[in-house]
Amino acid sequence: MDRRDFLKKSTALALASSCIPRQLSAFSSGLPSPQIRPVGDKSRVVIASRSDAKDNNNRYVGMNVARLVDAAVENLYRENAQKVWKKLFSKDDVVGLKVNCLAGKGLSTSKELVDAVSERLLQVGITPSHIIIWDRSDKDLQRAGYGLYQGNKQPQCYGNNRFGYTSTLYEFGEVGSLVSRILHDQCTAVINLPILKDHGIVGITAALKNFFGAINNPNKYHHNTGDPYVADVNMLADIRNKTRLTLCDALTPQYEGGPPHMPQWTWQQNSVIAAVDMVAMDKVCWEMIENQRRDNGLPSLKQSGREPTYIHTAADDHHQLGTDDTEKMEIVKA
């Protein structure tokens, strides 16, 4: 082997080794540890729905959204909701609630959903200062109607801009990013609270894509319909190891024109979708978007050149973040 061959092979080896999840050995797969996974052989995705999630004035009813959260969690774990929350989190946890507020009011994670989740965490005994409602920037949060807060009296609410990003570069596959200090330094656990919507480049935004808000350079990872970038971002240790539950806001999703809010393309789904397997959740969400597109005479995402293939990639042997095989899923409607 000459010098050139040696360097080429060592480069290939280095690139390959960078694709090996560094802490994967702690788990049987990329999924959270068995202690916080729902029991059963299949990846369970719960679609909890209530027609009274909104009142006659088209405003969300906090109490009913909270009931949706409880129903989603109980059906996911097949256990009393209070027990589930205690199983998932300890009093010492600092829990980040990763919302998606890019599109402003109308197409951001609803405050009622966040309030319900915060309330359940407080009931576990977590102090308000250890609950952090968090997204990319203060401005995004404010635009979506969230009140910024840093203190002890209520859950925290602020953007990445307050604390910046790690100085260390975290890498997996094609991704090399600095990670939000809120996630890296402050949170011991994360509840992923995405919103379900169409995305003009990567197809859909739901569970996996929401963590683009946890890195410094998401603008670099939208091309090729976000594949493999969305999957690679979710392999970063802070995201993979700290995310314990995903509750997707599918109350008023949008099937076209995203990511900005285009009310003409929203529909009343009145659902909260729960899963621990984010890949399975995204597969279900993808189908919901496709169904709406078909019912409204729009071409499929594939025909539109933005099939969210990153969902398949997230399920492949390199990533093992979950399953996209509906045969291996249990979809529960509650």
Binding site: R4, G104, G164, G200, N217, N219, P260
Partner: protein, 375 residues
């Protein structure tokens, strides 16, 4: 001539500068107020409006189609309600005084200083970027200064600079700032140079050429594979930019960072050199620069100097008159020789001109005209 002491001083200085991946020293000049946050976004110049508040950026060949409230690949241009804005206009994050040889531009006012500046952002993603902390950052991640175009020429003069260099990151993504600054500086007798990857569409490049005096293009390889896998860009548009610059009469030099096993194949270098001679002419200088492990390409060793010497020989054999070796302070490959009689005309050590025997723009021995922009 240099004394022994001066020689050692200049060599050490050059070595330190070369080893420093980020610009050497942050400029602390008067009048530079640090910006608390992004100042006054300015409407971008190269974009098309599309339905549903989308826009299509036509600044670089990537042609990002961007939804409302989203940013382009560069991270510094944002769609706000269907109008596209640059977020870095007048907000450089790096401002320094550098020798022009650091750019490197060897045939442009040698021995002078360039007032050098950069904003955050870049339109490619090189795995070997030496300034990735600012090039791959969004504007809000870096500390920036408020420095409007009209003030820069005066600052340059106050600091003994005869030119302004847009450098460190990628000037294409702050093209409006480059244009306005260069136009204002030109009126005050200060020249402007752009240190670029050349990944830009023809119209904005043509516009910039109206106010620029020299361009250095980082030609990162001569294969699309390299551009695809290590740059996240394309080779073809960069070659087109080089041809455009030549056709517009812009003084252009090329830097080719030689990365072991990635773009140092002899056949590739031969093809590249033949292309340069055919399309740009033999008087286009090319700098074969030494790679040092950086950013996401830390697994490769620094380029062996012998490989750089081979690249230089290939260029000479192909007919290129001014091939240089870069990032190797003290190597004779840094010097300029007369292509006709072989006389040593400009001797350099790192960024320092040790000796300049040019007689205006002529070889002092055989009177051959040496191409470039000289003092």
């Amino acid at each position: 001539m240099f004394s022994r002491r001066e020689f050692i001083k200049s060599t050490c200085g050059a070595g330190c500068l070369l080893l420093s991946p980020v610009p050497s020293k942050i400029f602390q000049g008067a009048g530079l107020a640090q910006a608390a946050e992004i100042q006054r976004p300015v409407e971008a110049r190269y974009y098309e409006k599309q339905p549903n508040r989308k826009i299509k950026c036509v600044l670089c060949p990537r042609e990002c189609v961007i939804d409302d409230l989203e940013r382009g690949y560069c991270g510094v241009r944002e769609n706000r309600g269907g109008t596209y804005y640059t977020l870095v206009y007048g907000n450089p994050c790096a401002v320094h005084v550098d020798p022009i040889e650091k750019k490197p531009l060897f045939h442009f006012l040698p021995g002078t200083n360039a007032f050098s500046l950069a904003t955050a952002g870049c339109n490619v993603l090189c795995k070997f970027c030496q300034n990735w902390e600012i090039s791959q950052a969004r504007p809000e991640e870096v500390k920036a200064y408020q420095l409007p175009p009209r003030d820069i020429a005066d600052l340059a003069k106050q600091n003994g600079c005869v030119s302004i260099a847009y450098t460190y990151t990628e000037p294409v993504i702050f093209t409006e700032y480059v244009y306005d600054t260069s136009a204002a500086a030109g009126e005050k007798g200060i020249k402007s140079v752009m240190i670029s990857n050349g990944y830009i569409k023809a119209e904005p490049m043509r516009d910039l050429c109206q106010v620029l005096h020299a361009v250095k293009i980082d030609l990162k390889a001569y294969t699309e594979r390299f551009y695809r896998e290590l740059v996240n860009g394309e080779l073809k548009p960069v070659l087109e930019t080089l041809v455009l610059l030549k056709s517009l009469g812009m003084w252009t030099e090329i830097v080719y960072l030689v990365i072991p096993s990635q773009n140092d194949d002899k056949n590739e270098l031969q093809d590249l050199c033949k292309w340069i001679v055919a399309e740009l002419g033999p008087d286009t200088p090319i700098h074969f620069s030494r790679f040092h492990p950086q950013y996401r390409l830390k697994n490769l060793p620094p380029t062996p100097i012998s490989v750089l010497q081979t690249a230089k020989k290939i260029a000479l054999d192909a007919g290129i008159h001014f091939p240089y070796i870069g990032n190797v302070p003290g190597d004779p490959g840094e010097n300029t020789y007369c292509p006709s009689c072989g006389t040593l005309l400009i001797r350099r050590i790192g960024f320092t001109i040790v000796e300049n025997k040019l007689s205006k723009n002529l070889c002092s021995k055989c009177r051959t005209k040496i191409p470039g922009i000289w003092l």
